[in-house]
Subunit: 562 residues, 2 copies
C-alpha cells in the first residue's frame, strides 16, 4: 500500500449529527461540521467527480447517496447509467440507526483525527492526545500479569512446554487448558457454552468468592467479553409489541451498551435514576416510581444493575442489594447483575457483594425463585485484558426450556474465542500459595490495585478543588463521573450548534488540551445537570497532569462564558 | 468440584423436538426421547422433588416450568410460595425460538453424550465417536502452522522477543502487530473496525489475490470469525414489515448460519436451489424463478453466495460469477459473497475467482455500482484456526452513510478479539520468499492442502461405490454432501417418530458406528431427496475406516428397511 493510497479521512471519522446521520460535504461543503474535517472528506486517490470510467476503485454512484428520493436508475454527468444504491440510510434497518454508543462516539473519532494530525506534524496546543474515555488499562500503560501471558504463550505454541525458563505452574495450567481443547489446540472450536474445564474452574471460583454457595458449571456460559453475554440475555427477554413490548430497567447514568442493545432490539428502556447526592446510591422508591410509570406503556421484564458502578463508581451496600432482590422478586423481574468490576473496590468500608451470594443468603424463598444472570469479564479488575474478549455469565433459576434455547442460540456463533476462554480460566484459577508463580502474581496484582486505589482518591481530591466541579468518591470501578457547572452562555452556544452542552464542553476540552473524555449525556443524567466520564487509568504522574489540565480548562472555559 | 457435583446430563444435552422445545421427563418420563437420556435428566445432586427448603442450589420452581398457563404464584407441595418464572418458553423472544442450527444440533448433543458414556466405560458397538459434522480441522488432528503460532506466542508474551530460538521474521511480524496495539499489548481494545495495520495488510493481500484490483483498507472490517460479519451485514439490510419485509436469497442447500440469522432478524428466507445433477451449479434461471416468486410477498434485498460451496463443495466458474453479478445488478440486490474456503480448491480445472475481482473486470458499469460484501476467516483453508475467531469483510460500493452506521454498530461490541486479528494478519501476510520461515511455511501449507485434495477425491470415490449413495465431486471446501436413498419403510418409521428421514438415518448411524454427520435437512434440500454432510477432515487412515463404516452402515440400513 503506497502512502498516497491510505485514506486520511474516512466516513468513520466524521462527526455524527444528533439525528444519527453523518454530515455530508460533497455538495459544496456547506453542511455543519466540526473540527475542520469536512473539506478533506474524499480519498486522496479519488478521481475528480466528473471522471469515472477510468477509476475502477471508486463508485460514481456515491454522488447519488447525498440526495434523497432518487429514481431507481439515473444518468450521471458523463452519460453513464448509475444505479441508486440498494442499501441506503433510508432503506437500512431502522433499529440500527437508533443505536448510540458514546464511549466510541464522535468525540473519540475526533480524538483519533487529532492524533493523526499531530503525527503529520500539525501544530496543536498539546503534545499528545490522552484517551481517558474508555476503560482500556493496557492502552494506558498497565502491564499484563506475567503468569497469564506465559500460559497464553504456552497454549499458543506448545513447543514452549519444553522450555525450562517457563515456570511449572504455568506449564501445568497450559496443559490442562490444551487437554480440554479439541486436538489439544486453541485453534479448535470449543463447545458453544465454553470449554467444560474452564466452566468448572469458573464454578469453583464463584463458590470460593461467595463463601461456599454452590455453583453448577452447567449454569456457566463463557462469552465474548461481558457485552456478548448481556446482549444475549437481553435478546432472550425481549418479546411483545405495542403496550406489551418488553421493558428493561436500567440505571441512569448507565453504561451505553444497555441502551444500544435495547434500541437494536426495539425494547423499551425504563430509566431509574441513581441518587448523585447520596454517592450514586440506588433508592428502591425510585425503582418503584420508574416501574409503576413504565407499566402504563410496556411490559417490564428485567432489571439491570451495574455494581461497582459504571460510569458512576459507586459500590452497592449489602442492604441495597437485598432490597433490589426483594423488589425484583415482588415485581417479577429478571435480574441482570453486571459485576465486571468486582475486584475494583477502593473505598474504605466498601466491599463487593455478589448478587448471587446475597440471593442465596436470603433463603430459599429467594434463592429458589429469583432469576438472575451475573456477568464477569477478563477486561477489567487488575488484569485489564480487554483485547482478548473473555467473559462468562452465570445463570440462576433459569427455566430449563429457555436454557436449551440459550444454548441453541449461542451455537449459531459456534464458540467464544478460545484464547479469551483460556484467559478467563487463568483469572478464576490464578497461582495458588506454594506454586512458583504465586508471589510474583500477588505482587503484580497488588501493585495494580493499589495504584488504582490511589488514583481513585487523587481524582476525587483534585476535581473537588475546582469551583464548578463536584465529584463523588470513586469507591470502585475505573471512572469518575463528576457534575460540572456549565455557564448559561456556553449552554446557549451549544444549543445553537445543535450539541448537548456537555458534548460542547468535552469537544472544546479535547481541541484545547488533547484530553478525550465522554460527555455525561452519552450515559444519561438528570435533566439540567452535566457530567463527564473520565477513567482513572493513566499512570499516576500523567493523571496528575491530566487532572490539572482539566482544572485549568474548566476555569478558563468558565471565565470565557461567564 | 467433587466428582459427584458434576452434572452428567444437562438440558443442553437433551434432544430438541421438532417444535424447538426440549423434551421433558420430570412428569412421569413418558415423553418422546432418544438414546435413553430421559430418565437421567436431573442432576445427580438434585434433591428429591418433594424436598426443597434445605437445598439452596436447586430451584423448586423448576417443577412449575413443565406445565403451561400457571398462575403468577402457586403453592408448592411443601406449602411454600413458588413464583412462576419471568422467562419461560412462552414469554421469551419468539424469534429466538425459530432459530435452528443443525451443525450443532441434537445429533451433536447426542454425540457428546455418547462420548461421555464411552468415557464412563459404557459398552458401545464402537470405540470412539468421530465428529465429522463440523469443519474443525485441529480437532481432527490437523497441525497449526508453526510460524503463525510462534508469532502469537511472541505477541502474547513479548519477553520471548529476546529468545534466540524464534526466527527473525516471526519477531518482526510480532513487533509490527504489537506496535499497532494500544500500549503495545494484545490486551488493549483495538479500533472497532480492527487494527489499522492489519486492515492494510488485508488490503494488500486482496490486491495480490485479485491481480492488482485496488483495495482500500478503509473498506476492510475485521470480524469475530466470518459469521460475525455475515450477521452484521444481514442486520443492516433488514427492514420493512408485511409484504415489504426484507427478503434474502440463499442457496439450498445452505450453511445454516444464514437461515438462523434470518430467522432471528425476522427476515424472509428466499430459497434458490443449486443443481445437484450439474455438480451443484447455480442456474440464473433458478435465481430468477426464486426472485420472481418472492417479489409477491416480500422485498428482496440481498443475494448470498457461498463459493467454494458449503455444504456442497462445488467451485463456481468465472462465467457463473459474472452471471450472478449481472443478475444482482439488474435486480438491484446487495451481493454477499461467503468466500471462506478460497484456498480450498482441489479439482482439476477448478479455480477460485473472487467476486471482487470478477466484478472489477466487468468494467465500471458493474464495478462502480454493484454493492458487495465479501467474507473471509482464519477458520478454514490450510490454517483451520477456528478457535481464534478471526475474520474480515470487505465492502464495495457501500453508501457512505450506511458505512458510518456500520462502524457505529460495531463499536457497541468494542472490537473483535485481538489474537484473532493478529492471526488474520499472519494469514494475509505469511512468510515471503527469502525470509527464514518461508520454506517451512510452504511445506506445511502444501502438506495440508495436498492431503485435503487427496481426501476429497477419496471421499467421492468410496461413497460412489455404495449402492444408494451418489456423491458429486468435492471440488473445494471441506465437505461431501452425498444424496442417499432411504427405503420407504425407514421413511415411514422416521415419520412416526416425528423425525426427518435423514435425521433418523444419521442418528442410527451415530448409535451404531459412532460417526457423527449432519442430516441434509439441516441445510435444506429438494423435497423427497435426502443427504448428509460429512467433512473430509479426518486423517487419511481414519477417513478410510470412516468411509468404509459409512458404507457398511448404509448397506445394513438398506437391508434392514427393504
Amino acid at each position: 500500500m503506497s502512502a498516497t493510497r491510505v485514506q486520511l479521512l474516512s466516513p468513520r471519522t466524521l462527526p455524527l449529527l444528533s439525528s444519527g446521520r453523518v454530515a455530508l460535504f460533497l455538495q459544496g461543503g456547506g453542511g455543519p461540521h466540526r473540527g475542520g474535517v469536512g473539506p478533506r472528506f474524499r480519498s486522496l486517490t479519488s478521481p475528480p467527480l466528473s471522471c469515472s470510467s477510468s477509476s475502477p476503485g471508486r463508485a460514481l454512484s456515491s454522488l447519488s447517496t447525498t440526495r434523497r428520493g432518487l429514481p431507481k436508475e439515473k444518468m450521471s454527468e458523463n452519460g453513464m447509467m448509475s444505479r441508486a444504491k440498494v442499501l441506503t440510510i433510508d432503506t437500512m434497518n431502522p433499529t440500527v440507526k437508533k443505536v448510540e454508543y458514546a464511549v466510541r462516539g464522535p468525540i473519540v473519532q475526533r480524538a483519533v483525527e487529532l492524533e493523526r494530525e499531530l503525527s503529520e506534524g500539525m501544530k496543536k496546543p498539546f503534545a499528545e492526545v490522552i484517551k481517558a474515555n474508555i476503560g482500556d488499562a493496557h492502552a494506558m500503560g498497565q502491564q499484563p500479569i506475567t503468569f497469564f501471558r506465559q500460559v497464553l504463550a504456552l497454549c499458543s505454541y506448545p513447543e514452549l512446554l519444553s522450555d525450562s525458563t517457563f515456570p511449572e505452574d504455568a506449564k501445568s495450567r497450559a496443559c490442562r487448558i490444551l487437554n480440554s481443547c479439541g486436538g489439544n489446540s486453541m485453534g479448535a472450536y470449543s463447545a458453544s457454552q465454553g470449554i467444560e474445564s474452564v466452566r468448572q474452574d469458573v464454578a469453583r471460583y464463584i463458590e470460593r468468592r461467595d463463601g461456599g454457595v454452590p455453583c453448577d458449571p452447567d449454569n456457566i456460559y463463557l462469552t465474548t467479553g461481558a457485552s456478548d453475554g448481556i446482549v444475549t440475555m437481553l435478546k432472550l427477554l425481549v418479546c411483545g409489541e405495542g403496550a406489551m413490548r418488553a421493558g428493561v430497567m436500567i440505571s441512569i447514568p448507565q453504561y451505553p451498551l444497555y441502551s444500544a442493545a435495547l434500541a437494536e432490539l426495539s425494547a423499551v428502556q425504563i430509566n431509574y435514576y441513581l441518587n448523585e447526592e447520596k454517592c450514586w446510591s440506588l433508592d428502591i422508591s425510585e425503582l418503584q416510581r420508574a416501574l409503576d410509570e413504565a407499566r402504563l406503556y410496556c411490559n417490564p421484564r428485567a432489571l439491570c444493575i451495574i455494581n461497582p458502578g459504571n460510569p458512576t463508581g459507586q459500590v452497592q451496600s449489602r442492604e441495597c442489594i437485598e432490597d433490589v432482590i426483594r423488589f425484583a422478586a415482588k415485581e417479577r423481574l429478571f435480574l441482570m447483575a453486571d459485576e465486571v468490576y468486582q475486584d475494583n473496590v477502593y473505598a474504605e468500608g466498601c466491599q463487593f457483594h455478589s448478587f448471587k451470594k446475597v440471593l442465596f443468603e436470603m433463603g430459599p424463598e429467594y434463592s429458589e425463585t429469583v432469576e438472575l444472570a451475573s456477568f464477569h469479564s477478563t477486561s477489567k479488575c487488575y488484569m485489564g485484558e480487554c483485547g482478548f474478549r473473555g467473559g462468562y455469565m452465570e445463570i440462576i433459576n433459569m427455566d430449563d426450556d429457555v436454557k436449551a434455547q440459550l444454548t441453541k442460540l449461542l451455537s449459531v456463533r459456534l464458540c467464544p474465542p478460545v484464547p479469551g476462554q483460556a484467559l478467563m480460566d487463568l483469572v478464576v484459577n490464578p497461582p495458588q500459595p506454594g506454586e512458583p508463580s504465586y508471589e510474583h502474581f500477588i505482587k503484580e496484582r497488588t501493585t495494580t490495585l493499589s495504584a488504582l486505589a490511589e488514583k481513585a482518591k487523587l481524582t476525587e481530591q483534585v476535581l473537588n478543588t475546582v469551583e464548578g466541579i463536584r465529584c463523588n468518591p470513586v469507591q470502585g470501578a475505573m471512572y469518575s463521573f463528576p457534575c460540572i457547572t456549565i455557564p448559561e452562555r456556553a449552554i446557549q452556544e451549544a444549543k445553537e450548534l445543535g450539541q448537548q452542552p456537555d458534548m460542547f464542553y468535552c469537544m472544546k476540552m479535547l481541541e484545547e488540551t488533547g484530553i478525550c473524555l465522554v460527555p455525561g449525556s452519552g450515559f444519561g443524567q438528570k435533566e439540567g445537570t452535566y457530567h463527564f466520564r473520565m477513567t482513572i487509568l493513566p499512570p499516576t504522574d500523567k493523571l496528575k497532569i491530566l487532572l490539572n489540565n482539566v482544572k485549568a480548562f474548566h476555569q478558563s472555559f468558565t471565565q470565557q462564558y461567564s
